[in-house]
């Protein structure tokens, strides 16, 4: 409170006609988001708005940079055994939680124990089940023993839900969260705002540069954009893709649209008719040109893809040609599969996910000539878990980018994958083999060859219709400096300043 008032007086006295409204506290960044976080314990966070908070208040063992490189965070260095089954992380010394207590190895192991306990029911548990045993020979060393070789273990330590929290204050994480991050939790009013203040004892000396951050919760996008244009907020997180071009024309704003690994797809159920027949799945993939889908659904802000691996990834199979729409060939395949008069089918789209709704309408229209007579059915996204996921024959869904190629593909495409059974029930021996091989090799070239083989097998026997890797765009006031639009859709605001 005093912080706000001091900032207000300061800015008003110094520069009464400054471009930024005098009502805004100096050096407090106001970030417009859409939803109220429902969890403050990072282990239970599941939505993008919460992930922003995770990365401001907490630290993981490693950090993912905006160029997707993995760099030290709480761990200043790490080593791994030849067989990739033992990983040793050396913690930075003198890192203090926001309450002043020093972070030690026991906090790390306690957090992972809690995560791996099935009774905790943490949503991201399945990503870490390879951890078989943990030990901490001293206060600054954590050793993970894995049940199988896993080359991307340091990468997944940067993920959203594995932030290190104080082991003795787990009970208060849900209401008064305490972390080690550059900003400290101050207050949260659901539906209004979350207020974070600078952590003066942050372990990187001199950072952060801001006095604080406010997450302003404004559900209606047009209101957020109006607020940005008026200077009432400084950043709009995740602007709609149709706004990228019009907002770029505003000289007061900077719009950044970056490629991500987040994808949307038309999910097909591979064990029930009609999509248990690979010819029907292939027919759909040649009935629709993914380039048209990108233009119509994303206003061009995305790229067609064949699997969750985005075309920007070095592991993307560049040799696979995305087919042009061929309605005649699609009809022929459908006829071979026993649908000579085309296929009448219902496509479920999630209400409240405008891009995915638009994808449904786009496919409804574009797949018509290829013999797919689609009726769109809108279903609230909240009932997806209970009624749609893994059950409906044909629906639209999508996932955020994950930190490694393995986490982005294995659980979705392997016949034993945890997400696979909640999506398409896909099973292809060649895909399984390639995914297993890629996971266990330590050799980057071999890994790449495995993932390319996986994409080729998947392309020949598609599990559904991967539409695109979607871009992610944010709009900034020009006075916001040193913030990069992070493809993982969170923010690193340590160096951010307001000019």
């Amino acid at each position: 409170m005093s912080l706000t008032r001091r900032g207000l007086i300061g800015s008003a006295a110094a520069l009464p006609f400054m471009a930024r409204p005098a009502s805004a506290a100096r050096n407090v960044l106001r970030l417009g988001v859409g939803n109220s976080p429902t969890h403050l314990d990072p282990m239970f966070t599941t939505i993008g708005d919460e992930y922003i908070y995770d990365n401001l208040v907490f630290n993981g063992l490693t950090r993912m940079r905006a160029d997707l490189g993995i760099v030290p965070d709480l761990a200043e260095k790490w080593t791994y055994s030849q067989d990739l089954k033992q990983w040793t992380f050396h913690l930075r010394r003198g890192v203090k939680f926001h309450n002043g207590r020093e972070l030690v190895a026991d906090d790390v192991t306690a957090m992972f124990k809690r995560l791996l306990d099935p009774a905790t029911a943490a949503p991201s548990r399945s990503n870490y089940t390879m951890i078989e045993h943990m030990s901490s020979p001293d206060a600054y060393t954590v050793i993970f023993n894995l049940s199988f070789a896993y080359g991307g273990f340091a990468d997944i330590m940067s993920d959203r839900q594995v932030k290190i929290t104080p082991r003795d204050l787990v009970a208060q994480l849900a209401t008064k969260p305490i972390g080690t991050g550059p900003f400290m939790f101050q207050s949260y009013t659901p539906g209004d705002r979350m207020v974070l203040a600078k952590n003066p004892n942050y372990f990187e000396a001199g950072l952060p540069l801001l006095e604080g951050v406010e997450l302003r919760i404004i559900p209606e996008m047009s209101v957020k954009i109006a607020a940005l244009r008026a200077g009432d907020i400084d950043i709009v997180w995740q602007i709609p893709l149709d706004q990228v071009k019009p907002l770029s024309a505003d000289p007061k704003l900077r719009v950044d649209s970056v490629a991500t690994g987040s994808w949307d797809a038309a999910i097909m159920n591979n064990i029930n008719p009609p999509f248990n027949d690979v010819r029907v799945r292939r027919a759909f993939n040649i009935a629709v040109d993914k380039r048209d889908v990108v233009e119509l659904t994303l206003f061009g802000e995305g790229v067609p893809t064949i699997s969750p691996i985005p075309p920007t990834s070095p592991f993307y199979a560049k040799d696979i040609v995305i087919p042009k729409a061929d309605p005649a060939a699609s009809r022929k395949l459908l006829a071979e599969a026993g649908h000579p008069d085309g296929l009448k089918i219902q496509l479920i789209v999630p209400v409240g996910r405008p891009v995915r709704e638009r994808l449904g309408v786009t496919l409804q229209q574009l797949a018509g000539p290829g013999g797919f007579d689609i009726s769109v059915q809108r279903v609230p996204f909240s009932s997806y878990d209970a009624e749609v996921s893994g059950k409906a024959p044909f629906y639209i869904d999508g996932y955020f980018a994950r930190p490694t190629v393995d986490t982005s593909t294995y659980e979705f495409l392997h016949s034993n994958g945890s997400w696979n059974e909640r999506l398409w029930h896909y099973s292809n021996a060649a895909v399984d083999k390639a995914l297993d091989a890629a996971r266990e090799t330590g050799d980057a070239e071999k890994e790449k060859a495995d993932y390319i083989a996986m994409q080729q097998a998947l392309n020949a026997d598609p599990c559904g219709f991967f539409a695109y890797s979607v871009n992610y765009a944010c709009a900034y006031r020009q006075w916001v400096e040193n913030v990069r639009t992070h493809p993982m859709q969170w923010f690193d605001l340590r160096h951010a300043t307001i000019g």
Binding site: I225, A226, D242, L296, V361, V376, Q377, R378, P380
Partner: protein, 281 residues
């Protein structure tokens, strides 16, 4: 000009204007499949978010679809919801009301308490409740809205019938030994019609509005259909760059509601015995 004659004249003017507009909208809805300048569902990538022009009177939407054609084609949904729902509430509500009036006692208590229960729920909640349990479509929306307005017609019919049951001609019919069905159908119903018609005429407005509201919430016709409530819902995300996408169906809805209301008001002035002097019976 006497007061009564003035009322008659104004009543018929409201009736005429409202009737003409409603008839015009119905006619447009019927001929729209042939008359609409463009397909209501076909995309045109080059023309996305085009503002209103001579080629596209109401502009185009995020897929380059012609909003004017979509509004024309969408009129049928609103009309079907308004009039269809009202037909359902009349068909179900009027017999229930007659029954309650004639069989005082258990039947009346059961019907009227059920009606009280339904009325105590806000219409939009009741509609949501009916639609939430099953996948939505146009017919379910019509039935849901119809059910929402059954109680009002039941109450009205009952109160009218209760008054009529005391009338001499009904007593005479009873004295002649006529059965319940005969009395209700031949004596009560013909005399109860005017207030029922007036009430349903006015309620059509609410039914259209409720139908569009449910559809706005996603519980109505499904995309890519161009129901007006759905169009308004879809236009929301583009309101600052393409306001015509929401304005066109919104103003059309407004025009339809005013016209139906005028028509209903005209009917009331024409048929209400208190306004046009003691009429029948």
């Amino acid at each position: 000009m006497s007061g009564a004659a003035l009322g008659q004249w104004r009543g018929s003017r409201a009736l005429r204007i409202g009737g003409c507009v409603v008839a015009a909208i119905i006619a447009l809805a019927v001929i729209s499949p042939w008359f609409a300048p463009y397909s209501a569902v076909a995309f045109d990538v080059r023309l996305r978010f085009a503002p209103p022009s001579a080629a596209h009177f109401f502009g185009t939407d995020e897929f380059g679809r012609d909003v004017f054609s979509r509004v024309l084609v969408g009129a049928r949904y609103s009309l079907a919801m308004g009039f269809g729902a009202m037909a359902i509430s009349v068909i179900a509500g009027v017999p229930l009301g007659l029954l309650a009036a004639f069989h005082r006692g258990f039947a009346e208590a059961a019907i009227m308490r059920a009606v009280d229960l339904l009325i105590s729920l806000p219409p939009i909640l009741l509609g949501l409740l009916i639609l939430a349990v099953t996948p939505p479509n146009l017919w379910k929306t019509i039935v849901a809205v119809g059910i929402v307005y059954i109680p009002i017609l039941t109450r009205l019919t009952r109160s009218v019938a209760l008054g009529l049951l005391e009338e001499d001609f009904v007593q005479a019919a009873r004295a002649r030994g006529e059965g319940a069905v005969s009395i209700l159908a031949r004596e009560i119903l013909p005399n109860a019609w005017p207030p029922i018609i007036v009430e349903s005429g006015l309620r059509v407005t609410f039914a259209i509005l409720l139908g569009s509201s449910l559809s706005f919430l996603g519980l109505g016709p499904q995309p890519p259909s161009s129901e007006w409530g759905l169009m308004i819902a879809e236009s929301r995300q583009f309101i600052d760059r393409a306001p015509w996408m929401g304005l066109a169906p919104g103003l059309s809805l407004c025009a339809l509601l005013i016209a139906v209301n005028l028509f209903g008001e005209g009917l009331r002035e024409r048929l209400d015995p208190r306004l046009s002097g003691r009429g029948r019976a």
